[in-house]
């Protein structure tokens, strides 16, 4: 009986240890795999370019076969790299705060749909026996990537940045509310809080500006499209950095209120 209980406790402890290690290593582990695969992809790309140029120069059957084989390998790795990129996004969203369950599920759903499509598409390369077939399969992936996958990628990345600031904004808002309540208590005790009240007002104004910048960024991330995709994304990220600056200023004003209240 004792042996049975001891064995169960050990099993539970081991399971907890493994679970915590895996949860911690999810994103970091995926990123490491992504970086490694990227190196392999680059090597395959060089082989594909070399064999393609050889085929285009000599137009022999041997060169065509070599170009076909290297092309297949390269395109499969390209699909695989995008699959891993989507997994990277998935893991990052999974460990990030600030999402509601619905928001998180919506993103996961989009990522899963694209991952399934790519996983299936990746298996088709092996069955292509000519360069023309390979070209057609490659075009399918390129169209899908340019019209859909990269938007999902940037929208998700932008959402992660935005949620980081949303969490910090909520913390600051809560802190300002607490401070306001404490200032009322201090004023009731007879201490003059006029200057502190002025700092509090300034802090609230900065908080409003920070929220406005976050709204601007949200609008941009939500409507990414067309040729200016990267430029628009960078603009959204810039609004968030401005928002962060306003939050820092508001938090500094809060520290002044505390200093005045403590009489330091």
């Amino acid at each position: 009986m004792k042996y049975f209980i001891l064995r169960n406790i050990l099993f539970v402890l081991l399971a907890l240890f493994i679970f915590s290690t895996v949860a911690y290593a999810d994103y970091a582990g995926t990123y490491q795999s992504y970086v490694n695969l990227y190196d392999t992809y680059r090597q395959a790309e060089r082989s594909y370019v070399t064999s393609k140029n050889k085929y285009l120069t000599y137009q022999t059957l041997t060169a065509e076969q070599e170009a076909l084989n290297n092309g297949k390998n390269f395109l499969k790795l390209r699909d695989q790299l995008v699959i891993l990129y989507l997994k990277l996004l998935y893991d990052r969203v999974n460990e990030s705060g600030g999402y509601t369950t619905d928001e998180r599920n919506l993103i996961f759903n989009k990522i899963n749909v694209e991952t399934s499509w790519l996983t299936e598409h990746r298996t088709k390369y092996d069955s292509s026996s000519t360069l023309k077939d390979l070209q057609r399969l490659s075009d399918q992936m390129q169209d899908r990537y340019l019209s859909l996958i990269r938007y999902i990628g940037l929208q998700t990345a932008g959402g992660i940045l935005q949620n980081k600031l949303t969490v910090l904004t909520t913390l600051l808002e809560d802190l300002l509310n607490q401070t306001e309540a404490q200032l009322t208590r201090v004023a009731e005790s007879g201490k003059d809080t006029t200057v502190s009240q002025r700092w509090l007002l300034e802090a609230k104004n900065k908080l409003s500006l920070a929220k406005e910048k976050q709204e601007d960024a949200k609008q941009i991330f939500g409507s990414l499209h067309g040729q200016n995709l990267i430029t628009d994304y960078n603009q959204g990220a810039f609004y968030l950095s401005e928002s962060n600056q306003y939050l820092r200023e508001a938090n500094f004003y809060l520290s002044e209120i505390i200093r005045l209240t403590k009489g330091e």
Binding site: V82, L171, S241, R248
Partner: protein
């Protein structure tokens, strides 16, 4: 008298010169002492030339440290030890740290740089 007659100077004439020098010697001595005292006073009381002796030593030029505070420091109040105020203070410091270190680039999530113009034709 005999000496005078023989053309030799008298006792009075011989003693004329020492009495004159004695008078001058005193004057010279007083002047000498005055000069000595004046030199000593000059050496002791007048400060040395600052352009020679007080040259600043070569050193690294550092900008002045300017500490800007919004309001001057006050006397500690009864609220300095209040639990609620101290809690807000701690949260405020933690938040400042988080706002300073938040990563707003997420560079690992940048789009992969893949070839989207694959073709097997010229």
């Amino acid at each position: 008298m005999e000496f005078e007659e023989q053309g030799m100077p008298s006792q009075e004439k011989i003693t004329e010169t020492p009495s004159f020098l004695q008078n001058h010697f005193k004057l010279i001595l007083v002047l000498g002492l005055f000069l000595l005292v004046a030199m000593l006073l000059t050496t002791v009381l007048i400060p040395k030339n600052p352009s020679v002796t007080q040259l600043p030593k070569p050193s690294i030029i550092t900008p002045p440290v300017v500490i800007v505070t919004a309001t001057p420091p006050l006397e500690p109040s009864q609220w300095a030890t209040d639990a609620a105020i101290l809690q807000i203070d701690e949260q405020n410091k933690n938040l400042a740290e988080e706002l300073l270190n938040v990563d707003l680039t997420e560079s690992p999530l940048a789009l992969p740089n893949i070839d989207t113009n694959v073709t097997f034709e010229k």
